[in-house]
């Protein structure tokens, strides 16, 4: 009887390992494919891959992805403060005043907004920002990214704040802190790891957005633009456009750009794991 139990236990563990491996396999395959193709491109282009603009379609020279790389960072970094400010305020409102009608409305809106197709948001921001400004811009892209990122950031900030045990609220009230001091001096610092992780994941997700930016940033690739009111480009848009062309050189650039994007994700992941320290309760 006990032998059969041992065999059953081992079979179960084996099954779990096998299923995990199957789940990981496509991911590993994707990373390896991107790495192999991307490294070849970047090795051929050298440092120019990060400093140059893309070449004409029929070219032996690979050129670079500088406009998209810089544009990605500018658009995402512009959207990030907007997202953090709005999402954190809404999260504080919903955790501090859970029964307030405005908190409930925020909660419902953020949940429903999470399922709106990103292309619809892009169209909405096109009408809201691009048309009145009469031009595509990094700013329009940032507004679109903020709208897309808000539901995720709000949900993760809310759960980070809710995860702080209420006994610390009692402690801070008991030494004379008011509600806002409690949030700023106690709740946010205790939940800092979860909050920073949420910010970095929001950043990473925004870096990878494609459809959201289709009608907003303008896909400007003939030069590097650092003015947020001017058109720009992003890495996902460049990959989207280049991989659907028949030109070999553009396919190579797309693989190199994908590797750069992957590297940014890995860098963010390592930052989260190593730099941000968790508060030990």
């Amino acid at each position: 009887m006990s032998r059969w139990r041992d065999v059953r236990d081992k079979l179960f563990i084996l099954l779990v390992i096998l299923m995990s491996a199957i789940a990981l396999l496509p991911l590993l395959h994707m990373i390896i494919t991107i790495a192999i193709n991307g490294i070849q491109t970047i090795a051929r282009a050298g440092i120019r891959f990060f400093t140059d603009i893309p070449p004409p379609p029929i070219s032996r020279d690979i050129g670079g992805i500088a406009p998209s790389l810089v544009g990605s960072f500018i658009t995402t970094l512009t959207s990030l403060p907007i997202t953090i400010a709005l999402a954190l305020s809404a999260a504080i409102l919903s955790t501090e005043f859970p029964s307030n009608p405005l908190s409930r409305l925020t909660d419902i809106l953020s949940r429903s907004f999470a399922s709106i197709p990103t292309i619809v948001v892009s169209m909405f921001v096109y009408a809201l920002v691009v048309v009145p400004m009469n031009r595509f811009s990094a700013l329009a892209g940032a507004v679109a990214l903020s709208l897309i990122s808000l539901p995720y950031a709000y949900t993760s900030f809310s759960s980070a704040l809710r995860s702080v045990p209420q006994t610390y609220r009692e402690a801070s009230y008991s030494i004379g802190m008011n509600r806002w001091q409690t949030v700023i001096k106690v709740f946010i610092p205790i939940a800092r790891k979860a909050i920073v992780v949420s910010i970095l994941i929001t950043f990473a997700r925004a870096m990878g957005e494609t459809a959201t930016l289709l009608f907003t940033v303008g896909r400007y690739r003939v030069g590097v633009n650092i003015d947020i009111r001017a058109p720009t480009d992003t890495i996902p848009l460049l990959i989207f456009d280049f991989i659907t062309t028949p030109f070999k050189v553009y396919h190579e650039i797309a693989w190199g750009a994908a590797l750069v994007l992957l590297f940014i994700y890995i860098a963010i992941f390592i930052t989260v794991k190593t730099i941000v320290k968790e508060v030990k309760l």
Binding site: T167, Y168, A171, Y173, I175, M177, I190
Partner: protein, 250 residues
């Protein structure tokens, strides 16, 4: 103002459950008043009314009057009220993201007890000495509370409460979750504080009450069973329930 705390006909309901039933109580300044009674009799709730932490409980309804230092607690801003009332909870809750030093310094700074570094250093040392923790932590003030034992954390919480220089100190079964050695140290610290503050302590242990109390209130099922000077109640309880509770039969 003869009494530090006066409670008159206090009734409290949580979601229509009658938790405190017509409780009245007077506590003289610079004494240790112990509220004792079996678990679930409303002791902690009563304590949390005094500093209005009960406001954090949803669906409460209160009637009656509670005066702290002559002011009706229901008529003043709760945050202002709490600046005169320190509290130590049943489970130690030092701020985990602050060093031992800052756990105490923040209470002093918030309440205007000390503003510059030198004054803060002095208050931190004074509070830790009063809580009988200074010798154990003086070389690691910049460490975090997770490195302390449960009993040390509880004394850190006492030091934090003292750093506010409160006029009243509420203690909610402060030794319930710590070892006997730390519990004894904490009790010693509490008794030594009597000259500085008025202490209201909740406990379910008659032995602890007998060791520290000047006056006692026994509560059962939200109502006051008996109250008066500790010496009288422990030697000559006038109520059969009190006698049984003190003998450990309830």
């Amino acid at each position: 103002m003869r009494y530090a705390i006066e409670i008159k006909n206090l009734n409290l309901y949580i979601s229509d459950r009658h938790i405190l039933k017509n409780v009245s109580m007077d506590i003289e300044p610079n004494t240790i008043h112990v509220i004792m009674g079996p678990s679930g009799s409303g002791k902690t709730t009563l304590l949390r009314v005094i500093n209005r932490l009960i406001d954090l409980t949803p669906n409460i309804k209160v009637s009656g009057e509670v005066y702290v230092l002559g002011r009706n607690v229901f008529e003043i801003d709760p945050y202002t009220l709490r600046r005169d009332i320190g509290m130590v909870f049943q489970v130690p809750n030092p701020f985990p993201h602050m060093s031992i030093y800052w756990n105490i310094a923040i209470a002093a700074r918030l309440n205007g007890v000390a503003r510059n570094k030198r004054d803060l250093d002095e208050v931190v040392r004074w509070a830790l000495e009063k809580a009988m923790l200074w010798d154990e932590v003086k070389d690691r003030l910049n460490k975090y509370p997770n490195e302390l034992s449960g009993g040390q954390r509880q004394r850190l919480c006492l030091a934090r409460a003292l750093a506010m220089k409160p006029k009243i100190l509420l203690l909610d079964e402060p030794t319930a979750n710590i070892d006997p050695v730390n519990a004894r140290k904490l009790e010693e610290a509490i008794v030594s504080l009597k000259n500085d503050v008025t202490i209201v302590m909740v406990t379910h242990s008659p032995h602890q009450a007998a060791r520290v109390a000047d006056s006692v209130t026994l509560i059962y099922d939200g109502a006051v069973v008996e109250q008066g000077a500790a010496s009288r109640i422990f030697l000559h309880p006038s109520n059969e329930f009190t006698a049984k509770f003190l003998r450990g039969e309830i």
